[in-house]
């Protein structure tokens, strides 16, 4: 085979592989939607997954938002020096944290923690035939494994993100009081200046879609894992990379749709 033919073959194989992946993910999404009616299978696991996906993610989300809030306050103060009243630090911290950094940074961090965890767990179940075992025991693996995780992601991501938003703003307040010449009433005045309750809804809407993305991408890559431990590693990495990319695309999408 000539070099050109080999190149065309490789490109063709990659394209077919990519289209197949999208097709498989789409079919899995459709199966998950259909499996929603099997409440007896996913219901008992929903609370457990909400704990694992949501509650256990709170520490990392708070850690990120705390330092993001501090840095935002200091950078705003550095940028505004002399030109803009200092209480605008509160406005910038509040707006940026709630509209953008709270949801996106939390989403990206959780794509690593939650998405990787799901892909590795389900991928290991696939390569050790545990998913086949579920099927032979008359369990629908989509209803049993995927639905509770995706629902838990959709329910818990917004809660974690809104909490992260609040902690980020509070961290900005703390940094302003401790490190800048700004009192709490001044900071709060800045926050309230441009605050719109819609901002929190916007943050939560983004977080719901991020939660669905991270969990469903993790489930999809895990579910279609092949090739032993190496395959599990590959699925895990791809789940994090793909869900991070989709989060950034969704971020732009929601800004274009809801902020214009």
């Amino acid at each position: 085979m000539s070099a050109a033919a080999a190149y065309v073959t490789a490109v063709g194989r990659t394209a077919i592989g990519a289209i197949s992946s999208v097709g498989r993910a789409g079919y899995l999404g459709l199966s998950s939607f259909r499996a929603l009616k099997k409440v007896r299978l996913w219901g008992p696991h929903l609370l457990e997954q909400m704990g694992r996906i949501g509650v256990e993610s709170v520490p990392i989300a708070l850690f990120i938002s705390t330092f993001t809030g501090i840095v935002l306050a200091l950078q705003a103060s550095y940028t505004f020096t002399g030109a803009v009243p200092l209480y605008f630090v509160g406005a910038l911290v509040g707006k940026t944290m709630i509209l953008e950094l709270g949801p996106v940074l939390t989403g990206l961090a959780l794509s690593g923690r939650v998405g990787a965890n799901i892909a590795a767990e389900i991928g290991t179940m696939r390569v050790t035939e545990q998913i086949d075992a579920l099927e032979t025991l008359a369990y629908d693996p989509v209803a049993y494994l995927i639905v509770p995780r995706v629902l838990a992601g959709a329910l818990m991501f917004p809660m974690v993100v809104v909490l992260a938003d609040a902690i980020g703003v509070l961290a900005g307040l703390g940094a302003s009081m401790a490190l800048l010449d700004l009192s709490a009433p001044q900071f709060i005045r800045g926050v309230r200046l441009f605050f719109d309750p819609f901002d929190v809804r916007f943050s939560a809407i983004k977080a719901i879609t991020f939660g669905i993305t991270v969990t469903s991408v993790g489930c999809s890559f895990g579910f279609h894992t092949r090739g032993g431990a190496e395959g599990v590693g590959r699925s895990t990495t791809r789940a994090v990379v793909v869900s991070s990319m989709i989060i950034l695309v969704l971020d732009a999408f929601w800004a274009a749709v809801l902020l214009r």
Binding site: T128, E129, A133, L134, L137, D140
Partner: protein, 249 residues
């Protein structure tokens, strides 16, 4: 006829694994399918329970064509089939009792309060009583296989499919597992389909032996008939003489 595979073809990419594979398995019998590694034995077994669907041909179980069943009907049919996986495939986050009880919890007509008793009974049958609270990682390979067997028989299935039940086990544990397969057939009257490349085990436990070679059935008969076969491929495999198998008549 309880299980019948008719003219089944299955390929994975360019690799044609099953070619016109046809086999009938009688009710109440234990049939062992032998063949070399990678010959498609496990692929064939997965067709019987609908984990794989044929590219062509039909798989009949209890007069249901598996390849044409919708998902719900397939799940209902699987309640009559127990599957013992090669590496047990126990759920590693669950205890042995939870593993064995998994199938029972899916049976709407089985009272929940009777599950612990049934689990204990199944674990006793495979000599694992007292291991209810253990995790799979705390068991040896042979014990895990027996726990997999207990899980497969818990729902009192009509059929049990064994995927290489003795591979990787020492001769004593192999004999124990073989004895259990015979006991399942005699005491519980289940139809067994065993995948193996261990000829000693195959002749010990089977009513019929079939050999899978090059994607289809090379020989199918009683252990004595297979032992007496003149086919060099069959003879070479049974006697472990590759020089015979190199000649294709």
């Amino acid at each position: 006829m309880s299980i019948e595979l008719v003219n089944v073809h299955k390929a994975f990419g360019d690799n044609q694994v099953l070619k016109s594979f046809t086999l009938s398995i009688q009710d109440g019998s234990t049939t062992t399918i032998v063949g070399g590694s990678g010959s498609g034995k496990s692929v064939m077994l997965k067709h019987i329970v609908g984990l794989l669907r044929p590219d062509e041909g039909d798989v009949w179980v209890d007069e249901h064509n598996i390849s044409r069943l919708d998902q719900e009907s397939l799940f209902r049919l699987r309640r009559n089939v127990g599957y013992v996986f090669q590496f047990a495939a126990l759920f590693d986050s669950m205890t042995i009792a939870e593993n064995v009880g998994m199938g029972l919890r899916r049976m709407e007509d089985f009272p929940g309060e009777e599950i612990p008793d049934r689990v204990s009974e199944c674990l006793r049958l495979v000599d694992l009583d007292g291991y209810e609270g253990h995790l799979p990682s705390e068991l040896s390979g042979g014990q895990r296989k027996r726990a997999g067997l207990a899980r497969a028989i818990a729902t009192r299935p009509k059929y049990i499919l064994y995927d290489e039940p003795t591979t990787g086990l020492d001769p004593v544990t192999t004999a124990v597992i073989d004895e259990m397969i015979v006991r399942m057939s005699e005491e519980l009257n289940v139809t067994g389909v065993v995948i193996s490349h261990d000829m000693t085990s195959a002749f010990r436990i089977s009513d019929r032996v079939a050999m899978l070679y090059d994607g289809s059935v090379r020989v199918d008969g009683t252990p004595d008939e297979v032992r007496a076969s003149d086919d060099p491929i069959v003879k070479g495999f049974i006697e472990g003489r590759p020089e015979l198998m190199a000649v294709r008549p």
